[in-house]
């Protein structure tokens, strides 16, 4: 390092010139670097404007790459230059300073409120950043969703407290029951046929003791009559005062829509930053080696074991990259015969994979059908375990498919010799298994979309499947039935998670630790693979979104489930697992996971939209029982608004508004696309320019070094530098 001994230092990075005594010049670290241009744009300029002393000045000072002593001197110097300010400006300055201090105090205090901060830090220390990010995704996911729903759901619940005594109320709320709030049922616009109106889910006759447990696990019986499910809500208005009443059906529909919109907004906002990253690092393939070398090390890691693991994983990554390069070179040099062979192999394996997926779908479909048929079988009803098994049959089959199909596909894919991108397709498989379940439910409920089939004719949905006298049927309230299926899926997901941890991972660790036979040691401890866990979360969240309309408290239960699952997974992570040998690049994958989450939301909206707009709501239960379609409550309520509001909403829904809006969006979209291509061109040009300037610099340096020895023969000492500069000037001219 050259020490600056002259006592007058020019710190190029800040643009300041200041004089500091010799002792301090020894400490200068930055003045030894001879850069052709300063790496930092000078932020704190020599002239102060009054605003500089506040946030910007301080911010700039912190971010300078100087040692603390120099920064202190800088701040003293800047403070000595007292700017001439008016009273108003100085008041503003002092106020902004105190606001900043207040902001910092608030941030410190809110630090304690951040959920699971310590747990996440500990995980990050031991397992590195990928896991840290995963946990954070899960935390944020469940909390945001659950919080929203809790707020919304509780609000609605309060209004129905008046109905607390009416838990067993049937289709016609009797006005003779006295209530704290006046409860007026909305008029039945369509008198439904008698057989459709009957809805009595409460158990009749002798009730076995285990039925309560069964009800808890499958949402029937006493659970069905609670606010948990759609069927509980009445199509009533709760009168608050003489002028104002709370319209329950409208509230129900709008709450659900608002929840979905909120989730959508939140996902889009979060993926906004990830999307920018994904675009910027779009050509990440071209710099994978430099990334591994320079960005591979996690400076937050502690502990020898963690460090060694990280080193191993970096080494593994580099070796894999080298191998893949080899493969690519081989692939480019394949002969025609080899290529034909490879393509036929790939075709066959693809067919195999597709066949596997179709088989899984068929199994799920059959299981769903059989489940509802078998539930009515008398021999099954008497046996608790059989009944539970039959109730959970669709969930079991889906979970088994979700586990088996990706594993098998993984094995098959290894033969195809693709490089990595199969995760996307496997995710889609998991989500579509849910889609198949929904399809089979739809098939049963609407008799395959044929409202005139015998089973569906009177009520336009399949009421006959749920006869009134069975012990544990969901009796003619198809929305509750759908809600129950989602509820069961969620519960089963939780149970499988816990059971796998307790009964598979713990014993595996104990076996591996205490038994020293070779195959066990090769199998080794469980690896905590982050992508699979995140995809599991996405699947669970999709189930919740689908069921949110039919089972309003599902998001709340799901929040509790996620919290418990977090602690279980943390336990298994620290006790049983070794980190994955493949590193997990969290930031690029974050965007991918949010994209999949968005896909899940889209999938969940399809049955919701279909139920709201097409299927006839149940006659016997729910807040929409008097309507032709669930959506009709909105136009009905609009008629009670004043004239201008009505005409405004009518206009919004008409073509006169929709068509210009569509055209405008097309214009904006094409403008954005044009800007994007312009920026892309700019970036390419700038890159080329950088390369050119680099070459120019090299040329100049060569010239200078050629000239300097020649000059030094002419004159010695400090004036040599002066001659250099004049020579350089000559070159330019």
């Amino acid at each position: 390092m050259e020490w600056n001994l002259s006592g007058r230092g020019t710190d190029r990075s800040s643009g300041y010139q200041y004089h500091y005594p010799d002792s301090e010049s020894l400490r200068s670290r930055t003045s030894s670097h001879s850069y052709s241009r300063p790496p930092y744009p000078p932020r704190a300029q020599g002239e102060h404007s009054p605003g500089d002393e506040t946030g910007e000045g301080v911010k700039a000072l912190r971010e300078l790459p100087l040692c603390l002593a120099q920064k202190r001197i800088l701040s003293k110097v800047s403070q000595m230059k007292i700017p001439v300010v008016t009273k108003w400006q100085s008041w503003k300055l002092s106020k902004s300073k105190s606001m900043k201090k207040l902001g910092e105090e608030v941030k410190e205090a809110s630090h304690y409120l951040k959920l699971w901060r310590k747990a996440l830090l500990k995980i990050g220390e031991n397992g590195g950043e990928g896991l840290f990010q995963w946990e954070r995704t899960e935390v944020r996911d469940c909390f945001n969703q659950g919080k929203q729903r809790l707020v919304i759901g509780t609000g609605r619940r309060d209004w129905e407290r008046g109905e607390g005594g009416l838990v067993a109320l049937l289709s016609n709320p009797s006005p003779s029951v006295s209530l704290p709030c006046s409860l007026t049922p909305l008029p039945l616009s369509l008198p439904g046929p008698a057989e459709c109106l009957h809805y009595n889910p409460s158990p009749q006759g002798l009730v076995y003791f285990y039925s309560y447990l069964l009800d808890l696990l499958s949402g029937t019986g006493f659970m069905e009559l609670s606010a948990l499910f759609y069927g509980y809500y009445q199509n009533s208005e709760v009168g608050v005062s003489s002028q104002f009443s709370y319209n329950v059906p409208l509230a129900y529909l709008l709450t659900c829509l608002f929840y979905i919109l909120l989730s959508l907004t939140w996902i889009v906002l979060r993926s906004g930053s990830g999307f920018k990253l994904a675009v910027v690092t779009g050509d990440g393939d071209l710099s994978s080696y430099s990334m591994s070398v320079f960005c591979g090390w996690d400076f937050g890691l502690e502990g020898e074991q963690a460090a060694r693991l990280k080193q191993n994983s970096i080494r593994y990554e580099l070796q894999v990259e080298l191998e893949e390069d080899d493969l690519r070179r081989n692939a480019a040099s394949r002969t025609l015969a080899q290529r034909v062979c490879l393509y036929t192999l790939r075709g066959v394996l693809n067919l195999l994979v597709v066949g596997l997926i179709l088989a899984a779908f068929y199994c799920i479909y059959r299981a769903s059908e059989q489940s509802s048929i078998l539930q009515e079988d008398p021999s099954v009803k008497d046996n608790f375990f059989l009944l539970l098994l039959v109730q959970y049959l669709p969930s079991i089959v889906i979970t088994a498919a979700n586990f088996l199909v990706p594993t098998l596909c993984d094995i098959i894919i290894r033969f195809e010799r693709y490089s990595m991108t199969m995760q996307i397709k496997l995710t889609l498989i998991r989500l579509t298994s849910l889609g198949v379940l929904l399809y089979s439910l739809w098939n049963q409920i609407t008799c395959g979309g044929e409202p005139h089939e015998s089973a569906c004719r009177p009520c336009e949905y399949n009421y006959a499947q749920y006869p009134a006298n069975s012990l544990h049927s969901c009796s003619q309230c198809w929305e509750t039935r759908v809600g129950q299926e989602m509820y069961k899926l969620m519960i089963f997901d939780f149970i499988t998670g816990v059971v796998v941890i307790l009964l598979v991972e713990f014993p595996r660790r104990m076996l591996v630790d205490h038994c020293s036979c070779k195959p066990l040691q090769l199998w080794g401890r469980q690896e905590f693979v982050v992508p699979e866990n995140v995809l599991g979360l996405v699947y669970a969240q999709t189930v919740v979104w689908t069921g949110a309309f039919f089972c309003p408290f599902l998001p709340l239960i799901n929040t509790v489930k996620f919290i418990l699952l977090f602690y279980f997974k943390k336990l298994t992570l620290f006790q049983n697992c070794r980190p994955a040998s493949r590193t997990f690049r969290s930031s690029t994958s974050n965007f991918f996971f949010l994209l999949v989450l968005l896909l899940g939301l889209g999938l969940a909206c399809v049955p919701l939209g279909y139920s709201v707009a097409v299927i006839h709501p149940s006659f016997g239960c729910g807040p929409f029982r008097s309507l032709r379609h669930m959506w009709d409550v909105v136009p009905q309520s609009l008629t009670s608004l004043p004239k201008t509001a009505q005409s405004f909403f009518n206009f919004l829904g008409s073509q006169a508004f929709a068509v210009p809006l569509f055209l405008l969006s097309c214009l904006v979209f094409s403008y954005m696309a044009a800007m994007a291509s312009v920026y892309g061109n700019n970036v390419a040009q700038l890159k080329a320019q950088l390369k050119l300037e680099g070459r120019d610099k090299q040329f100049l340096v060569k010239r200078i070094s050629e000239l300097t020895p020649a000059n030094q023969k002419k004159s010695a000492g400090p004036s040599g530098s002066v001659v250099d500069i004049s020579e350089t000037r000559e070159l330019w001219e």
């Binding site: 790496p39 690092t281 430099s290 990334m291 070398v293 090390w297 890691l301 460090a307």
Partner: protein, 181 residues
């Protein structure tokens, strides 16, 4: 908030707050960590600005740095004398840059200095090789090391002078979202 501590004067604490990314509490906590490394050397009263340096071995025995393969370079880069012996100022500076709140550019700057083993303001091939061996604990074969170094040079060296300058490094870091830790 009461100014109950007697370790620093108010101006000193304010100056530390302005020059680093830490709050008062964090600065005091870091001071106590610093002091715990050698209680007999570090006085409790810093108001008179004592000139105390902790030797390199003590600094690198901290759990945060103990297993870091680059601990020697980190200590050298952030210390005044370039040997790894740190004063409290250097200590605070080091943790300020390594903390979450430091911006990416600042970290990139210091990362460049850390990876530049021979301090010539360029990361040349030998610097890269040393980085790589420390990263992988000597477990790559020399052939692999050579290949990887070549590839890194190809990818990151924009001006084609056979070594990475700070601009090349920063340009590459700009495309790396994972860099922040």
């Amino acid at each position: 908030m009461g100014n109950k501590q007697t370790i620093f004067t108010a101006e000193q604490l304010d100056a530390y707050q302005d020059c680093t990314f830490f709050t008062r509490k964090e600065i005091l906590r870091l001071f106590h960590r610093y002091r715990d490394l050698a209680p007999q050397l570090v006085p409790l009263d810093y108001t008179s600005k004592p000139d105390v340096k902790l030797p390199y071995e003590l600094i690198t025995s901290m759990p945060e740095l103990k297993d870091n393969p680059f601990r020697q370079r980190i200590a050298e880069v952030f210390s005044e004398d370039g040997e790894g012996n740190m004063t409290l100022d250097d200590f605070l500076d080091m943790f300020s840059v390594l903390s979450e709140m430091a911006p990416r550019d600042l970290k990139a700057y210091y990362a460049f200095k850390i990876y530049d083993f021979n301090d010539d303001d360029y990361i040349c091939k030998s610097d890269l090789e040393k980085t790589l061996t420390r990263l992988t604990r000597n477990e790559l074969t020399p052939e692999e090391v050579r290949l990887v170094c070549e590839k890194v040079m190809d990818e990151a060296d924009l001006d084609n002078d056979g070594r990475l300058s700070l601009e090349d490094f920063q340009h590459m870091i700009a495309r790396a979202p994972d860099f922040l830790r």
